[in-house]
């Protein structure tokens, strides 16, 4: 079980024509990058670049992006009202590797199918509001930024 290896490498050109017209006007989805899942981790950066922890902190706060404070208490004292749905995030840099956090951000359902935590780099959910169809909640670089920020929490 633990050894499952998943290659999510896809060729862009191959599927393009088939879904012509399927996306709503005004959508500006960025091309989803391919990544490799190894033992419930994603070892490689999605973008090949290092994340920016300062930008990541902002993305985590942003209600239209990470909105992590809806569910987590975090060391972000200038923001009121931290939710209590998930555990407090104040030592993620000690407790997890970057590869684990990247998996957690991309698709936390890999760890627990029943989790309420959204999958931030995934599409194909049921009955998505039109303007978000085919789009991920965060971009690949935003995922990297949040991971970099979580690594600073020790």
């Amino acid at each position: 079980m633990k050894n499952k290896k998943l290659l999510a490498k896809l060729s862009a050109a191959a599927f393009g024509v088939a879904v012509a017209g399927a996306i709503s006007f005004g959508a500006q989805a960025e091309e989803m990058v391919s990544f490799e899942i190894v033992d419930e981790t994603i070892p490689q950066s999605l973008t090949g670049k290092a994340g920016d922890p300062v930008a990541g902190r902002k993305t985590a706060i942003n209600r239209k992006k990470g909105n992590c404070l809806a569910c987590h208490v975090m060391p972000i004292p200038e923001q009121q009202f931290h939710g209590l749905i998930g555990p407090t995030l104040d030592d993620t840099g000690d407790r997890f590797t970057e590869a684990e956090l990247r998996m957690r951000m991309v698709d936390s359902k890999v760890f627990d199918e029943s989790t309420m935590m959204p999958s931030f780099y995934k599409t194909g959910q049921h009955m998505v509001l039109k303007k978000f169809v085919g789009k991920t909640i965060l971009s690949a670089q935003e995922v990297e930024d949040v991971v970099a920020y979580l690594m600073t929490l020790k």
């Binding site: 999510a8 209590l84 698709d107």
Partner: protein, 291 residues
């Protein structure tokens, strides 16, 4: 062209990931594991664990809820009371002509009182084979008896009239037997229940994720309730006016970035049928006041 390609890839990779987790994980989905927790067996007796957003509302909000003079829905009820008594329609007949005064328990000439309506809807409409809720029933009379165009779903007139009707049932326990396989509403109930537990939207949540698994828990600045329907139409400070249950459904759907359904749509009527059953035994609180 680039956009189109992206969608295809996105869908593909989502599919692969899903396949990967179902292969390696034996966890039950939230829906499966919690279905019987707070809703009991498919019973028809009252749900003893039900409680409404009144419980998690702040003191000041509750006070407004409880005091008819302060309750901000009452001006809408007054507006509706005037319409209720008016013969200014093509049928030249008022609601009161047939039903008596709203509080008349004998139901006037028709013998059909407003009291009890708010506690027992949605009901089964044999003409359509679907559930009918209070809004649609009001419009049924408006159209068939008063020969007028129905009120718009979210209009002040409709909100006021629904509040006026439901107010007559205040304190009465919500009744629903829709879980009973012999009940005419059973298939609507089942469809509504499936909707309730179906994850949806970009944030991928079912109603149960918030209102069952996390009732009483805090999500950002909100304390989650069980998401019960017994207080509708409800005044919300956020709306600065009363809103229907279906408006609330649309709001909750939108927050998780899920597609909305229309006011009075079959989907929401089925969901409403399920929620009435889920809150059976709760006192009617309409018109309620919430944050």
């Amino acid at each position: 062209m680039k956009k189109l390609i992206t969608t295809a890839i996105a869908l593909m990779s989502a599919g692969l990931l899903v396949a990967a987790c179902s292969a390696g994980d034996s966890n039950m989905s939230a829906g499966d594991s919690n279905m019987s927790k707070s809703t009991g067996e498919n019973g028809i007796s009252d749900n003893p664990d039900a409680w409404s957003g009144y419980q998690t509302a702040r003191e000041g909000v509750r006070a407004m809820n409880d005091d008819d003079f302060e309750n901000p829905v009452m001006p809408y009820v007054d507006l509706a009371a005037n319409i209720y008594d008016s013969r200014d329609n093509k049928g030249n007949i008022s609601c009161a002509d047939c039903h008596g005064a709203p509080e008349d328990e004998t139901g006037g000439r028709s013998g059909i009182p407003m009291k009890g309506v708010g506690a027992s809807y949605p009901r089964f409409n044999a003409d359509t084979g679907k559930p009918i809720n209070v809004e649609l029933q009001i419009n049924k009379c408006r159209e068939e008896r008063q020969v007028e165009k129905g009120f718009k779903y979210e209009s002040d007139e409709m909100l006021g009239m629904t509040a006026l009707v439901n107010y007559q049932s205040r304190g009465m326990p919500v009744v629903s037997t829709a879980a009973n396989p012999d009940d005419e509403l059973h298939s609507a109930w089942q469809t509504g229940k499936d909707f309730y537990y179906q994850r949806r939207g970009q944030l991928d949540m079912g109603c149960n994720n918030c209102h069952e698994d996390n009732a009483e828990n805090i999500i950002r600045a909100e304390t989650l309730s069980q998401g019960q329907s017994n207080g509708f139409p409800t005044y919300r400070f956020k709306w600065q006016k009363p809103g229907s249950l279906h408006r609330r459904f649309r709001g909750c759907n939108k927050n998780i970035r899920a597609a909305n359904f229309n006011y009075g749509s079959d989907e929401y009527l089925n969901l409403e049928t399920y929620l009435a059953w889920r809150g059976r035994g709760l006192p009617v609180e309409a018109p309620a006041v919430r944050k």
